[in-house]
């Protein structure tokens, strides 16, 4: 233990001395994270020659801080203009964008930065401390258990749909159906692809994301001069640091919320193959389920923003665990880190902490230091970033459209994806105009294919015997948890209504 402490202290000071790498990388990460289509993973690939030419330490710190900051960057356009930069930020606009519309963009940004950094920092420390334990999570979370985790996220459709249940379900199941486009995971039979090879691997997420959220929103916002309300305009006319502090305060007051939602992210992050999008939806759903004011979610409720953002940053630290301990990358960015580290002759896996402990601890330390420096560098910027909302919609809408259609093209470089984003834009526009929730459609598109994948793996393993779904102890515990998280809020709601009724009845007597 004494050895570990010495190594940690040593690594900490070494990492801090790389601030000159970390700070510029943070800005790069914020930018690429904010542009839909770009991500930490493809930026590292694009800059691969540069990354490989760096020393092991520099390369490692560069990749880790890019990873963290890109994750945080994705939340910025999600909050300000309803464009989630990556699927991991798809739950962020649910409450972030309404806050912006109310003129609280600066608060929302500050809140996100604090929630992300605290969530990231906290989970990094926990991951470091409990690494061997966390690495075991993947050994218990198999396809059966993951089905239930997916259902946690998907059940969000029902909560979102609360106003008009039929329309909400239509939107959600349409999303799930669209998400089923592509070859089946077992025998690769093409399904519902309209003959397009580009759809064989399923609906690409970025075009769906920007189409449904951003393009359709751009068509909507031109009704008004600004995306923020008139009251908000007056407030925004006097820019001040006050809003930033207010956001920071709101976030710190909810430190417990940040803690437990980031832990959801951490646990989902350590499962190989799961990712930030699942984590943020599950965290949002859980946050809403256990809230005393579930009806406020979706209207610009701070907790609705804090939950997905702390969760997806929890995932970031989580994905490092299977990479370092088992040699299995938890996600795309981790996979590329693996390639780069192998190039430098470092092999991940059980022997890493024996052979090169400095690399192992160094990655977590780089993450912790990045989060720490990030909050210092980015928080002051929230005041300026939020000014985007004062750009008149006649300029903003065309910019959003061109910017996001281009973003749809970037990941695969197919023109097809641009047309697809346009198609999703039109679908999203019709949905918005006629009162269908685009978020419900999107949850289906993102989580549907993942649910089907785990479902088919389970069924294939059992030769089609459906009882496999209830064959594991942990799975069954999760099933009970799922049922509870769906039933308890309804029960609480009923009780609250009853109490309110009682109160009302009591008033006249007084």
């Amino acid at each position: 233990m004494g050895d570990t402490a010495t190594i940690l202290t040593e690594v900490f000071f070494e990492t801090i001395s790389f601030w000159w790498v970390i700070v510029p990388t943070i800005f790069l990460g914020l930018i690429v994270g904010g542009i839909p289509g770009f991500s930490a993973a493809n930026t590292i690939i694009i800059l691969m020659p540069l990354t490989l030419s760096m020393s092991l330490e520099t390369g490692l710190i560069f990749m880790v801080s890019l990873y963290c900051s890109a994750r945080m960057g994705a939340g910025i356009p999600a909050i300000l203009v309803n464009i989630p930069g990556t699927a991991g930020a798809a739950a962020t606009p649910l409450d972030g964008y309404p806050m912006t519309k109310q003129g609280k963009g600066q608060q929302a940004l500050a809140m996100t930065f604090v929630a992300s950094s605290l969530g990231g920092l906290l989970t990094t420390i926990i991951a470091l401390a409990a690494m061997p334990l966390l690495a075991r999570v993947g050994f218990y979370m198999h396809s059966v258990e993951m089905i239930v985790v997916m259902l946690f996220g998907i059940s969000l459709i029902a909560s979102i749909a609360a106003q008009d249940m039929l329309k909400g379900l239509i939107a959600g199941f349409l999303g799930l159906m669209i998400g089923s486009i592509g070859t089946d995971v077992v025998y690769a039979t093409p399904r519902g692809t309209f003959g397009f090879l580009e759809l064989y691997d399923g609906v690409p997420l970025i075009p769906a994301l920007v189409g449904l959220f951003a393009v359709s929103e751009a068509f909507m916002i031109i009704e008004k001069r600004l995306i923020i309300t008139e009251d908000a305009q007056k407030a925004m006319a006097r820019p001040s640091w006050h809003a930033t502090f207010e956001g920071v305060g709101i976030a710190f007051k909810r430190w417990w919320h940040i803690t437990w939602t980031s832990l959801i992210g951490l646990v989902i992050g350590v499962i190989p193959g799961a990712g930030a999008s699942i984590a943020s939806f599950v965290a949002y759903q859980q946050s809403r389920s256990f809230s005393k004011t579930p009806e406020k979610y979706g209207t610009g409720h701070p907790e609705g923003l804090i939950a997905p953002e702390s969760a997806n940053n929890g995932v970031t630290s989580g994905t490092l665990v299977p990479l370092l301990v088992l040699g299995i990358p938890g996600g795309a960015t981790a996979a590329i880190m693996l390639v780069v580290m192998q190039f430098h002759g470092v092999s991940f896996g059980p022997s890493l902490f024996e052979e090169s402990p400095k690399v192992g601890y160094g990655m977590f330390m780089a993450m912790a230091v990045s989060y720490f420096l990030m909050i210092l560098t980015i928080l002051p910027l929230s005041r300026y970033m939020s000014r985007v909302t004062t750009v008149p919609t006649i300029y903003l809408a065309p910019m959003i459209i061109s910017f996001t259609l281009v973003g749809a093209f970037v990941p695969r470089e197919y023109m097809f994806d641009m047309y697809l984003a346009l198609a999703f834009g039109v679908l999203g526009y019709i949905a918005r105009r006629t009162g269908y929730h685009v978020a419900a459609i999107l949850i289906g598109v993102i989580l549907g294919p993942l649910l089907e994948r785990y479902f088919l793996w389970s069924l294939k393993k059992s030769d089609g015997d459906i009882s496999i779904l209830f064959s594991s102890t942990l799975g069954n515990i999760l099933w009970v948890g799922l049922v509870l998280s769906l039933v308890v809020p309804i029960w609480l709601d009923m009780r609250r209504k009853k109490n309110a009724q009682k109160d009302q009845e009591e008033i006249p007597i007084q």
Partner: protein
């Protein structure tokens, strides 16, 4: 969900678009997996079945409302004269044109034309110089990031060709 009789009849025409699309797509999807192995079918039939069911319930509810006169088949919430006035129809048209022409004209020029044209439509012709300047800066910025720096496979037109030659010789 009973409607308040005092409200004007709910315009269901627009609301029917999504369920109709959903039903059409689901039936097409089913036709594409009719002769496939069970792995391709099981999940899709489950999800699609529920989707068809909720759509059917929606249609039934719509028929009920229509027959009671609580709703009409109007499409006012989807299209209105306002859409023409605000330039929304124009913006949708320029967006479609952007996707259609980008292949021929190249990324930079199409982006510039799209931005300039849609902003002019939306601003109803006010401050054209500012708009042209903004559009040019945005288009050139996009060119610098996506084509010059990141070398993506964006459609190239004569502008990109000229710039390439200039850079190669300069």
């Amino acid at each position: 969900m009973p409607l308040d009789p005092k409200d004007p009849p709910r315009q269901l025409g627009g609301e029917l678009v999504i369920p109709v699309l959903a039903v059409a797509f689901t039936l097409y999807y089913f036709s594409s997996i009719w002769n496939s192995p069970w792995t391709a079918q099981v999940s899709a039939f489950m999800v699609g079945g529920i989707l068809l069911l909720v759509c059917a319930m929606f249609f039934l509810r719509a028929i009920l409302w229509l027959s009671r006169g609580q709703a009409s088949l109007g499409v006012g919430n989807l299209f209105s004269i306002e859409d023409l006035r605000t330039g929304r129809i124009g913006l949708i048209a320029t967006t479609v044109a952007f996707c259609v022409f980008i292949d021929q004209l190249g990324f930079t020029l199409t982006t510039f034309l799209f931005l300039a044209l849609s902003m002019i439509i939306l601003s109803k012709g006010k401050s054209p110089l500012l708009i042209v300047a903004i559009s040019a800066v945005m288009a050139l910025g996009g060119w610098a990031v996506f084509i010059w720096a990141f070398d993506t496979r964006f459609p190239r037109g004569w502008f990109e060709g000229v710039m390439q030659a200039v850079i190669a010789n300069g």
